[in-house]
C-alpha cells in the first residue's frame, strides 16, 4: 500500500502518476501556451509559424521529468511529446533526432490507445477538412472507408504544399499513409519515416529505392513539424542535458547540441523545444562555453523550477496519502509523519518533492523518523549496495523493454545506441575508447596497452549497406585488428547472397573477427549507459533521496561489471584471442558455404529430436521448442548440437535447418 512513496523517479511516459498542478504551474503554463499557439500560427501561414524554445532548470528531484508527464496528461492527443536524452560520448545528428522523434511518436497518447503519430495525421486531416480536431481518430476512421483514399490524401498534400514551400511531398505522403497501412507496412513506414535503413522487402512494399538521404533529413523534420503543428504540435524535450559535459574531452558535444537546437529553432517551423538540465551544471559548465548566438537561441526563455513551499508540501502529502485507502491509513493528516516531524519538514529549507517523498516513505515504513535537520550521516554499506542494486535492476528491465520494442518492430537496436554503450563500458573498464572522426572507417576505436581494435557495428537491415560496412571492415583488417559486431537476434537472412562474398573474404583476414551481441549483452550494456547517465543527472539516490556521487556509482558499476559476461569491451580490445568466451566464428549465410564440421555430440539431443519431427525449421523455432521443454538449455547449446550434427542436418543460410538424412 505504500507503493506511492516509492515513485521518487518520475517515469516520463507514465499514465498513472500523482500531480499537484499548482507546483511549477508557471513552467507548465509557459510551455503549454507555446503549444497552444502553434495550430493558430500554422493556419495563419508560414509567416506566423515559428519554433519556440524554453530552457527549464532545476536541481535533481525538483520535477523536470514530472513536468513532461504532466504536459502529456494535460494535452492528450492535442500535442505530440518526444523525449530525447543525450548519448554519452556521441553527438546527436539530425538523423538521430528524426529517429528519436518518430520513435516517440509511435508511443501512445496519454491514457489512450491512439498512437501519437496517428493523432498527428488525424489532427492534420481534421484541420484541413475543417472537422473537429479533438477527435483525430474519428477522421481517420471516416477516411478508412472512403473509396479513393489516395486522392483525398493527395488533396491534403496539395493544400499544404501550396502554403508551405519547404514541405517534402514524398515524406508527407508516407506520413499520411501510416494510419491506413497494414501492420507490416506500418513497420516499414516507421523505419523509413525515422530515417533508418529498410530491408529490400520493405523497400519493395513501399515502392522506394532506399532510405532517406542525408540531404532529405532536415526537409523531413520540417515536414513533420509543420504537419503536426496543425493539430498536435511536436514538443521535443531534451532531458538530462548535463550529460553533454565530457570531462576532459572538451566541449564538442555541447556545441553539437547547440548547433542542432539552433538549426531546429531557425529552420524548422512549429516545434516547441524544451531543454531540461540541472541548474548548477547548466550555469557553470554549459552556458559559459556557448557562443553569444548559441546562447541567444538556447536561453531565449529560461525558467527555474521552484521548490514546493509549505502549502504545496501539504498538498503533496495530502495527494500521496489520498491514494491509500482510508482503511489502511493509520492516522489523519499529517500521517505518516508525527505533528512535530511534519512541522520540521514543512518549514525546512531546500526540500525537493523527491526528498519529501522519501521522508514520507521512511515515516510510512516506521523507520525512526529523523528530523530533517539531522545530518545525513553515512549509510550502512549494505543499504547503499541494496539501493544501487535495485536501481540497476530497474535500468536493466527498461533496457530489456527497449529491446522488446525493437524486436516487435523486427529491427535491431540503433547503431548509435550500441556505439554509445560500448564507449561507456570501455571507459568504465579503463580502456581508451573513441569514435573515428570524419570519413575514417569504423564505429569505435579501442586502445588498451599494446592492444588496439577497430570495431564495426554492422546492424544494417539492408544487404547493400551491410556489404558496404563489411567491405570497409575488410579493408581495415589488412592493416589492423578489426571486430565486426552484430546483434545475434538479427542474423543475416539466407536471401542476402551479396553478403556471402565479403564474409568469405573477412574469414580469410587473420586480423578480423566476429562478435555476436546477444540480448543479454545488449540489455546490460544499454542499462549500463543509462545507469551512468542517470548518475550524472543525480538521479541515482540513496534511501534518503540524496544522490550518490557519480564516482561512487561508477565504482559500484565497475565492480558489478568486472566479472559479468556482458562486459564485452575488454574482450573486443583483444581480438585474436580464440578462447574468448563470446567470440563467434564469422557467420555463413548461403547453404553452399555452410559446412558444419562433424563433431562428437549426443546423437539423440533435444534439437535433433525436434528437427526430426518438424523435418525443416528455423533455428529460432528449434531453440524455442527445446527451451519450452528444457528451459535450462541455452541457445548456445542448441547451436552446438545443430552445428555438430554433421551431414545429418542440411543448412539453408544460417537460419534454416532440415533433416538431410543419416544420423548425427
Amino acid at each position: 500500500m505504500g507503493a506511492v512513496f516509492s515513485l521518487e523517479h518520475a517515469d516520463p511516459w507514465s499514465v498513472d502518476f500523482i500531480d499537484v498542478p499548482s507546483i511549477n504551474a508557471h513552467a507548465s503554463d509557459a510551455i503549454a501556451s507555446r503549444i497552444e499557439e502553434k495550430p493558430g500560427q500554422a493556419h495563419a501561414g508560414p509567416d506566423h509559424l515559428r519554433s519556440s524554445s524554453v530552457l527549464v532548470l532545476g536541481p535533481a528531484g525538483s520535477g523536470k521529468t514530472h513536468l513532461f508527464a504532466r504536459l502529456r496528461k494535460r494535452f492528450g492527443p492535442a500535442a505530440s511529446f518526444v523525449l530525447v536524452r543525450p548519448e554519452i560520448g556521441l553527438s546527436m545528428a539530425p538523423r538521430h533526432m528524426l529517429a528519436a522523434i518518430i520513435d516517440s511518436l509511435h508511443r501512445r497518447c496519454h491514457g489512450l490507445e491512439t498512437r501519437q503519430i496517428e493523432a498527428v495525421v488525424g489532427s492534420l486531416l481534421s484541420a484541413v477538412h475543417q472537422t473537429d480536431r479533438r477527435y483525430p481518430m474519428l477522421r481517420i476512421e471516416e477516411l478508412r472507408n472512403e473509396a479513393d483514399l489516395r486522392a483525398t490524401l493527395e488533396e491534403v498534400i496539395a493544400a499544404l504544399e501550396s502554403r508551405y514551400d519547404e514541405l517534402d511531398a514524398r515524406y508527407l505522403e508516407k506520413l499520411l499513409l501510416f494510419p491506413f497501412a497494414s501492420p507490416v507496412d506500418r513497420r516499414a513506414l516507421l523505419a523509413w519515416l525515422s530515417g533508418r535503413e529498410l530491408d529490400d522487402t520493405q523497400l519493395k512494399r513501399l515502392g522506394l529505392a532506399g532510405a532517406l538521404a542525408d540531404s532529405e533529413v532536415i526537409p523531413a523534420l520540417r515536414t513533420l513539424a509543420v504537419a503536426a503543428a496543425f493539430g498536435a504540435p511536436i514538443v521535443v524535450a531534451f532531458d538530462q542535458l548535463e550529460n553533454l559535459v565530457d570531462g576532459d574531452d572538451g566541449n564538442d558535444r555541447i556545441h553539437a547540441h547547440a548547433r542542432l537546437v539552433s538549426e531546429l529553432f531557425d529552420s524548422v517551423r512549429g516545434l516547441v523545444i524544451v531543454q531540461m538540465a540541472l541548474d548548477a551544471e547548466w550555469h557553470q559548465r554549459i552556458s559559459p562555453v556557448l557562443s553569444q548566438s548559441e546562447r541567444d537561441r538556447l536561453e531565449a526563455r529560461k525558467l527555474a523550477l521552484l521548490l514546493p513551499g509549505a502549502d504545496e508540501r501539504e498538498a503533496l502529502l495530502a495527494a500521496w496519502t489520498d491514494v491509500i485507502p482510508s482503511s489502511e491509513r493509520k492516522g489523519y493528516f499529517p500521517w505518516p509523519f508525527s505533528e512535530e516531524g511534519w512541522l520540521e519538514w514543512r518549514g525546512s529549507p531546500g526540500v525537493t518533492p523527491r526528498m519529501l517523498m522519501i521522508a514520507c516513505r521512511e515515516a510510512f515504513e516506521g523507520k525512526s523518523e529523523l528530523p530533517p535537520a539531522s545530518p545525513h550521516g553515512s549509510l550502512e554499506h549494505d543499504t547503499a549496495e541494496e539501493r544501487l542494486e535495485s536501481q540497476w535492476a530497474l535500468h536493466v528491465d527498461r533496457a530489456k523493454a527497449e529491446l522488446g520494442d525493437a524486436a516487435a518492430q523486427k529491427r535491431g537496436i540503433d547503431r548509435e545506441r550500441i556505439v554509445a554503450a560500448i564507449l561507456c563500458s570501455a571507459h568504465l573498464a579503463g580502456i581508451d575508447a573513441s569514435v573515428p572522426q570524419g570519413r575514417k572507417p569504423g564505429d569505435v576505436r579501442l586502445r588498451h596497452g599494446a592492444h588496439e581494435t577497430l570495431v564495426f557495428v554492422v546492424q544494417q537491415p539492408n544487404a547493400r549497406s551491410a556489404v558496404a560496412s563489411l567491405n570497409k571492415a575488410i579493408s581495415a583488417a589488412a592493416a589492423e585488428n578489426v571486430v565486426v559486431l552484430r546483434e545475434r537476434r538479427i542474423p543475416f537472412p539466407a536471401t542476402w547472397k551479396s553478403v556471402v562474398q565479403p564474409l568469405e573474404e573477412l574469414r580469410t583476414q587473420s586480423r578480423a573477427s566476429w562478435f555476436d551481441l546477444d540480448d543479454d549483452h545488449a540489455a546490460h550494456l544499454l542499462a549500463l549507459h543509462d545507469f551512468l547517465s542517470a548518475a550524472r543527472s543525480r538521479d541515482i539516490t540513496d534511501s534518503r533521496g540524496r544522490p550518490f556521487e557519480e564516482s561512487v556509482v561508477r565504482d559500484w558499476a565497475k565492480k558489478r561489471a568486472a566479472a559479468a559476461r556482458w562486459m564485452i569491451a575488454p574482450e573486443l580490445v583483444k581480438p585474436g584471442d580464440a578462447k574468448a568466451p563470446h567470440r563467434a566464428v564469422i557467420p555463413v549465410v548461403a547453404a553452399e558455404v555452410a559446412a558444419p564440421t562433424p563433431n562428437v555430440l549426443p546423437s539423440d539431443g533435444p534439437a535433433w529430436r525436434i528437427l526430426q519431427e518438424l523435418r525443416v525449421a528455423s533455428v529460432e523455432r528449434i531453440v524455442s521448442e527445446v527451451r519450452a521443454t528444457q528451459p535450462e538449455v541455452s541457445r548456445a547449446a542448441v547451436m552446438r548440437e545443430l552445428r555438430g550434427a554433421g551431414q545429418a542436418i542440411g543448412w539453408i543460410g544460417a537460419a534454416i535447418v532440415f533433416v538431410a538424412g543419416g544420423t548425427p
Binding site: P46, D47, L57, G58, P59, A60, S62, D165, E242, D266, L278, D279, A280, E281, H283, Q284, R285, E299, R301, K302, L303, A304, L306, L307, W345, G347, S348, P349, G350, V351, T352, M355, A359, L370, P372, A373, S374, P375, H376, G377, R536, R538, R544, G545, R546, E549, E550
Partner: protein
C-alpha cells in the same frame, strides 16, 4: 514602332538584394514591403524574398517589414528611460497596441521595467536605481506602519493632543531598506547585505544566484556563521528560496563552507530571488 514587351517574371532573386533590403530596414526601422521587393518577381518569388527577410530576423506586419518591436523597444531604452505615453510614435512601424504587448512580454521576464514617476509610467532597462521586488515589499510595510502611526494619533476634539516617540518613527523607517542598502553600508543588517549581493549575482531571467558568489563579496563585514544564518533567515521570511547543490564536483570545500545546510545536511548552494509582487 513594335509594342514594348514586358520582361518575363522570375521565381528567383539575387541573394545580395536580400542583404541590401535588410540593411535598409535596419537603418530605417520599418519600410513598406512593396518598396523592398525587387521588380520582376512572380508571386512565389515575392513570397520567397519576404521569407528570406523573415529568416534574417525581421518582422512582417500587414504592409511593412520592420525590425522586431521588442528589439526596437529595448534599443530605445538602452539610450535611457522613456515615458510610455507617446513612445509608440518614436518606434518605427509599431502601433500603440503592439507596444503594450511588447512591454507586457519584456516586463514579464524583467528585461525592462515599468517605473511609476509622478503618477506616470516610464519604461527603462534595469539600471539598479529601481526598487527591487523585496524593496517594494519593504516600502509597502513602511507605508502601512506610517499610516498606522498616523492613525494612532487620532486627534479628536475630546482627546488631548498626542505625539509619537522618535524611536518608534525611526524603527518604522528602518523597515524600508531600499535606498540605504549598499555593501559598503556597514549599518545594514547581514541579511540585507546578502540580499543585495544575491541580486547582483542573480541571473536576470531566473533569479538564480550561486550562494558562494554572493556571500564571498560581503565576508569582510560578517562571519561565515552570520552569512549562513542570514541566508536561512531570508529563506524563512520568503525573500529567497535556498536550493540544494546539483552540480557534480563543482562545489569546492571552501565554497561549501559558505553555504547553509538543509534537510538531512544537504548543502544549499543556490538561491532564487523570490518575486514578492
Amino acid at each position: 514602332m513594335p509594342p514594348r514587351r514586358a520582361a518575363p517574371l522570375s521565381d528567383t532573386f539575387d541573394p545580395a538584394s536580400v542583404a541590401e533590403a535588410e540593411k535598409r530596414v535596419r537603418e530605417l526601422g520599418a519600410v513598406p514591403a512593396s518598396k523592398l521587393v525587387p521588380k520582376g518577381l512572380t508571386r512565389t518569388g515575392q513570397a520567397a524574398f519576404l521569407e528570406a527577410l523573415a529568416r534574417a530576423g525581421l518582422e512582417r506586419t500587414g504592409t511593412r517589414i520592420r525590425v522586431p518591436a521588442d528589439l526596437q523597444l529595448v534599443s530605445r531604452l538602452a539610450q535611457g528611460p522613456a515615458p510610455m505615453k507617446g513612445l509608440a510614435k518614436r518606434l518605427a512601424g509599431v502601433t500603440e497596441a503592439e507596444l503594450k504587448r511588447a512591454v507586457t512580454r519584456l516586463a514579464a521576464d524583467a528585461s525592462i521595467l515599468v517605473v511609476m514617476r509622478d503618477g506616470k509610467e516610464w519604461l527603462t532597462v534595469p539600471t539598479g536605481s529601481e526598487l527591487a521586488r523585496a524593496e517594494l515589499e519593504s516600502f509597502r510595510a513602511l507605508a502601512r506602519r506610517i499610516a498606522a502611526l498616523d492613525k494612532s494619533l487620532g486627534a479628536g476634539k475630546k482627546t488631548p493632543p498626542r505625539t509619537l516617540d522618535r524611536n518608534d518613527v525611526l524603527a518604522a523607517l528602518e523597515l524600508f531598506s531600499g535606498p540605504a542598502v549598499t555593501p559598503s553600508n556597514s549599518s545594514a543588517t547581514p541579511a540585507v547585505r546578502i540580499l543585495e549581493s544575491l541580486r547582483r549575482a542573480a541571473d536576470p531571467q531566473t533569479g538564480l544566484a550561486r550562494v558562494p558568489d554572493a556571500v564571498r563579496p560581503v565576508l569582510s563585514t560578517m562571519s561565515h556563521e552570520e552569512a549562513r544564518s542570514a541566508l536561512l533567515a531570508l529563506d524563512s521570511s520568503g525573500f529567497i528560496e535556498l536550493r540544494p547543490e546539483s552540480g557534480i564536483g563543482l562545489l569546492t570545500e571552501d565554497d561549501a563552507a559558505l553555504c547553509p545546510r538543509g534537510a538531512r545536511g544537504v548543502v544549499l548552494s543556490f538561491a532564487r530571488l523570490i518575486d514578492r509582487s
